[in-house]
Structure formats: C-alpha cells, structure tokens
C-alpha cells in the first residue's frame, strides 16, 4: 500500500479531541447503532428465552447458560458444526486455496491473451451475484441438468444435489471463490525476487523442488493471510448452499448458518439462534484476531 508518502514529522501534532472526533462521529453513531448494538444485544438475548411467538415473546426470562447447554447436547447443532468445518476445509482451505495457487503458478509466462481470457471467467464467477451463481450450479447439477444430461451418455445420470449434496456445494463454492486466492497469489508471485529463482534453475533444481524449497517458503506470508481471509469469508456462507440444497436433503448439507436460519427465523427461536450466532461470531473473532496479528503494524502507522 502507498501508505506513507510524507514524513511523519510533517503531520500536525496532537489535535483537540473534538476536532478528531467530529468527523468520526457519523461513522461512530452508525457503527454503534447498527453493528456494535446488535452484537451486544445478542449477548443479552442469548441468556434469555426470547422468542418471536409464544410465552417467550412478550416476557423473555433470564435463563442463564441454558441455551448454550442445549446447543452442545443438540445433535443437529453438532452435525451442522461438523458440516461447517467440512465446508470451510473442503471448499476454502483445500479447494480455493490450492486451485488459486496452481492457476497463478501455471499461468506465469503463458500467452497473455490466454491468461486474461481464463482470468476473466474465474473472476466472473467471483463477482457475479451469489444467488445467480447458486442458480447456475443448481441448473448444472440437477437431475436432467447440464452436467447430468452430459453424463447420461455414460450411464452416470443422477441427482447430484440429492446423492452428494455436500460435495456439490463444496465444488460450487470452489468455483465461486477461487478468483480471490488466484489474485492474491499472482500478485504475490510477481513480487518474488526473480534472481533467486533463476539461480535455483541454473543450479538445476527441478520444478518440484523449486516450488517446495524456494517459492513456497517465500510465499509463506501471503499463504497464511489468504487462508485466514478465505476461512472468514466461508465460515458464514449462506446464500450459495441455501439456493442449491436449502440444507437438504434432510439435514445432509445443513451447515451452522443454515441451521441458525431455520431455528431463529423459521421456528422463531430467537434466543437459541443468537446463542449459536455468538459461537459463530467467536470463531470468526478468533480468526479475525489472528489476521490482525498478521497484518504488519507498519501498515497501520
């Protein structure tokens, strides 16, 4: 980033608080009302039996840790957590990350028109509205859909969304999100010192050992940062799965965000839903803190 283009000393010295706070106040008001407010309120709600219908609606009662105790003895919640981990690891950590890295690596030095054509499609999948991506994949995998009618010729016809729902949403999410990792890695690779790689090649290093001993160690930082960011983005992914399988069949692809949606907004069990949201937020917060650690402090200065 072009962060510091002027010497520090040329900045005006300490400002009175109001001059500093004045321009910030609209942002602070919005963030407190619509961001911090709900988060704090959710902590309170999670310890009550608040519901949108029934007894809990009018007079929510303090119930202590009951929601959390219930959560960890709720087999459906545990099931959803397992699926969420599977989804994050499968589609982000293994899928997007590896595929993005490979595309960035193999694309280096290839014909410019080919690279930009391929990148256009990869980025297209990433920038199109998520709901349209969901429909495209639904139509692609549904029995009688594009892929299916192709595989029909080989006697492999089936409803992929029904037989392998988790695999279907994982592959769709790899398709959707690979562009981000690809962009991160191709930028990082163009920053690599070319002399080092040339030297290794002159010394007769094979492509594989060049990758393992030179490129990967040099890219450690972008790799860790990328993993952090895509994990955060994938953790609360809702729309793609919702459109493709709606968590089904049964609960076969019901990750935690979908389970929260069902409990809180379809069954109106708001307090239980928020308790689960807090768990999701905490997991997100941990990853976010690690990410903060990774961002160099100089970037903030």
């Amino acid at each position: 980033m072009a962060t510091i283009t002027y010497p520090r000393s040329s900045r005006p010295k300490r400002m009175p608080v109001f001059r500093w706070l004045g321009p910030l106040s609209p942002a602070l008001v919005l963030l407190l009302l619509f961001f911090a407010g709900p988060v704090i309120w959710s902590v309170y709600l999670a310890f009550t039996n608040k519901a949108l219908t029934g007894v809990g609606a009018a007079h929510p009662k303090w119930v202590g840790f009951a929601n959390f105790e219930h959560m960890f003895s709720d087999p459906l919640f545990i099931h959803s957590l397992v699926l969420t981990v599977l989804f994050v690891v499968g589609s982000a950590v293994l899928g997007q990350n590896t595929l993005g890295f490979l595309i960035a690596l193999i694309e280096r030095g290839r014909k410019a028109w080919f690279v930009s054509a391929l990148n256009t499609f990869v980025i297209c999948a990433w920038v199109m509205p998520e709901i349209v991506a969901g429909f495209a994949w639904y139509a692609y995998l549904y029995q009688g859909g594009t892929l299916d009618s192709f595989l029909h010729h080989f006697g492999l016809s089936q409803d992929w969304l029904y037989t392998t729902p988790m695999l279907a949403v994982i592959i769709a999410n790899i398709w959707r999100g690979t562009a981000f990792s690809m962009l991160v890695y191709s930028a990082a690779m163009s920053d690599l010192p070319p002399d080092l790689i040339e030297a290794a090649q002159v010394d007769g290093a094979s492509a594989l050992s060049l990758l393992r001993r030179v490129i990967l160690p040099l890219l450690r930082r972008p790799i860790v940062t990328n993993l952090m960011l895509i994990t955060l983005q994938t953790l609360a992914s809702f729309t793609l799965i919702f459109v493709m399988t709606a968590g089904g069949p049964g609960e076969a692809s019901q990750t935690t965000p979908l389970y929260i949606y069902q409990q809180a907004l379809q069954l109106y069990n708001i307090s239980y839903g928020t308790a689960m949201c807090i768990v999701l937020l905490l997991v997100g917060a941990i990853f976010s803190l690690i990410y903060l650690k990774l961002i160099r402090v100089e970037e903030l200065a």
Binding site: A2, T3, T5, R11, R14, M15, W20, P23, P26, A27, L30, L31, F34, F35, P38, W41, S42, L45, L102, I106, R110, F121, I123, A125, V127, P129, E130, I131, V132, F135, A136, A139, Y140, T146, S149, W175, F180, A188, S190, L192, P194, I197, L211, I215, L232, Q233, A236, T239, V243, P257, I260, L265, T274, C277, I278, L280, L281, A285, S288, L300
Partner: protein
C-alpha cells in the same frame, strides 16, 4: 457477505503492482521453462481444464436465456430468441426489483462513502492515541461474519418495528459496509500528499474546506472505487434484504429472483435465466469501470511537482 474483504486485498495488491509495474515485469519467472514444449503443452492442458470447469456452469445460463422454451437442461438452441427477455421485461418482474436494488445499493453506497470520507480524514491526517485502537477495531470488524449478527439484528428490527422499513435496512447495510469502506478510504487518502493541504492551511482553510476542495477531488478515483465496490456488494446481497424486508414491492432483484424460483412451483427456467443475466450485467460492467479507476489511481502523483 463473502465479498466484504475481498476487494481491499485486491486493491492493495493492485496498488502494489501498479506502483511497481516495471520491476514486476522484470520479475516474470516460469516454473518450467516455456521452451520445453511438453511441459508447455501440459500447462496449457491443465489451464484448459480449469477454463472448462469455470465456463461450464455458465453455459446453461446463457443458452437457457436465449432458448424459446428452456428446460433446466440446456440443449443447443436451434433458434436464437429474445422471447424470454421480452417476457420478463415488465414492471413487476424486472423494472421494479431492479429499481429497488438501485435504491438500496445507491443509498447505501452514498451514505457509506460520505461517512467513510469524513471518518478517514482524522485517521489519515491527525495524531491521536485513539487512532491505532480505532483502526484495529475497524479491521477486526471487517473480519466478523455479518451473517452471524443478522439474527440479533432481526430481533432488534422486530423489537423496534423496523422490519420491512427500507431506510432502516439501508442504514444497517451502510453500517456493515463502513469498516471496510473506512479502511479503504484511509488507504486512498494516505496516498494524497499532505503538502498540498498544508499550503491551504497556511491560507486559512478549515479541515472541511481542505477535504472538500483538495483531498476529495484528488482521491476521486479511490472514492469511485469504494462507491462501486459498496454498490456492487449490496446489489448482490441476498441474505440481508431477504430477512429484513417482507413486502414484494420492496424486494430488490436478489430477493425477487429467489421468489421467482421458489414460489411458482413449475419454474420457467428460460425467463429465470434471462432475468439472471439482466441482473448480473450491471455488476460485471461496474467491475470493469472500477478496474479502470484503479489503474488510473496514481496519475495525480505528479501534482506536488507541478
């Protein structure tokens, strides 16, 4: 939601590459020498497979949209037909949802950019002991999953009778776009040399004056990028309006496309595909425009010398 962090990284990288275009060109390397034909063929083979993987799901969308009677499976259309587009191009199917999307995304983008511009000024220009903690808090909150606060937000909206209130939804969307908006805005503002402003300060300009007359015009490309980014991410946001809005006539395209799909039982896939394309096109166009602005970002660097 998933897009909230993405552009920044992209912007940062692009800035990096833009700032050092020359060394980056020199820095080209190949994992395998391109002169070795076999490995080049293998590389192109792998990339071609990747291309097929990325193109295939989109084929249905395009074919079905131009097919007179599309089923969910796509066959090659015998005649290119615009009849699906003709059928969806009416007020309640297309124009009203797209107008709602414009209102939602446009208002959110304007509020976010305006508030972020004000907030970025002290963060970029003044010293304060609160600066660093505030910036850390901002980056921290860009990482939080918005999906996870939507349930308490719904509870809050229900409590204050704000469900189905477009203005409240816009303010909520602006609040969720703000952390990232402020972070980007500060980055762009740091790129504007302070010397220009100091001259204005000597002439007695207030911070409002120097922000409005000097800083904002100079970082206009950056402001445009943040506007477009916010607009596009709200344009594609399904979950928030799906939860917080209830009246059909207020639904943005993201939600109406879903009801299109789920409510009428037997769906006309050709029309769905045609509408999807109409809804997606603005996103793609705006990204291209944003890319143009990003590439021109450093053109004002000469302002100090001139």
């Amino acid at each position: 939601m998933s897009g909230t962090l993405t552009l920044g990284e992209d912007v940062n990288k692009r800035e990096k590459t833009a700032a050092r275009t020359v060394p980056a060109r020199k820095g080209r390397f190949h994992i395998t020498s391109p002169r070795k034909t076999t490995s080049a063929i293998a590389a192109y083979g792998v990339l071609a497979l990747v291309a097929i993987f990325f193109i295939a799901p989109l084929i249905w969308l395009v074919l079905a949209a131009f097919e007179p009677a599309a089923s969910i499976g796509s066959q090659a259309p015998l005649v290119l037909s615009f009849s699906n587009f003709g059928k969806v191009l009416n007020w309640s199917t297309t124009f009203e949802p797209l107008l709602n999307s414009c209102i939602l995304s446009g208002a959110t983008a304007v509020i976010t950019v305006f508030v972020a511009l004000l907030a970025a000024y002290p963060l970029s220009r003044y010293h304060s002991r609160f600066r660093k903690p505030f910036l850390y808090a901002i980056i921290f909150s860009t990482g939080l999953p918005i999906t996870a606060i939507l349930v308490p937000v719904y509870g809050m909206f229900a409590h204050f009778n704000l469900v189905d209130n477009q203005a409240a939804v816009i303010f909520f969307l602006a609040a969720t776009s703000l952390p990232f908006g402020i972070w980007l805005m500060k980055g762009f503002m740091d790129g504007v040399p302070i010397d220009l402003e100091q001259a204005a300060w000597v002439d007695g300009a207030s911070w409002v004056g120097s922000l409005r007359r000097i800083v904002a015009p100079l970082m206009l490309p950056g402001i445009m990028v943040i506007t477009i980014f916010t607009f596009v991410s709200i344009w594609g946001n399904f979950f928030v309006p799906f939860i917080l809005l209830q009246t059909q006539s207020k639904f943005p395209a993201a939600v109406s496309i879903y009801t299109f799909f789920s409510q009428y039982g037997m769906v006309d896939y050709g029309q769905l595909a045609a509408f999807s394309i109409l809804y997606t096109l603005p996103t793609l166009l705006l990204w291209v425009v944003a890319g143009r602005f990003l590439r021109g970002q450093f053109s004002f660097a000469g302002a100090v010398k001139g």
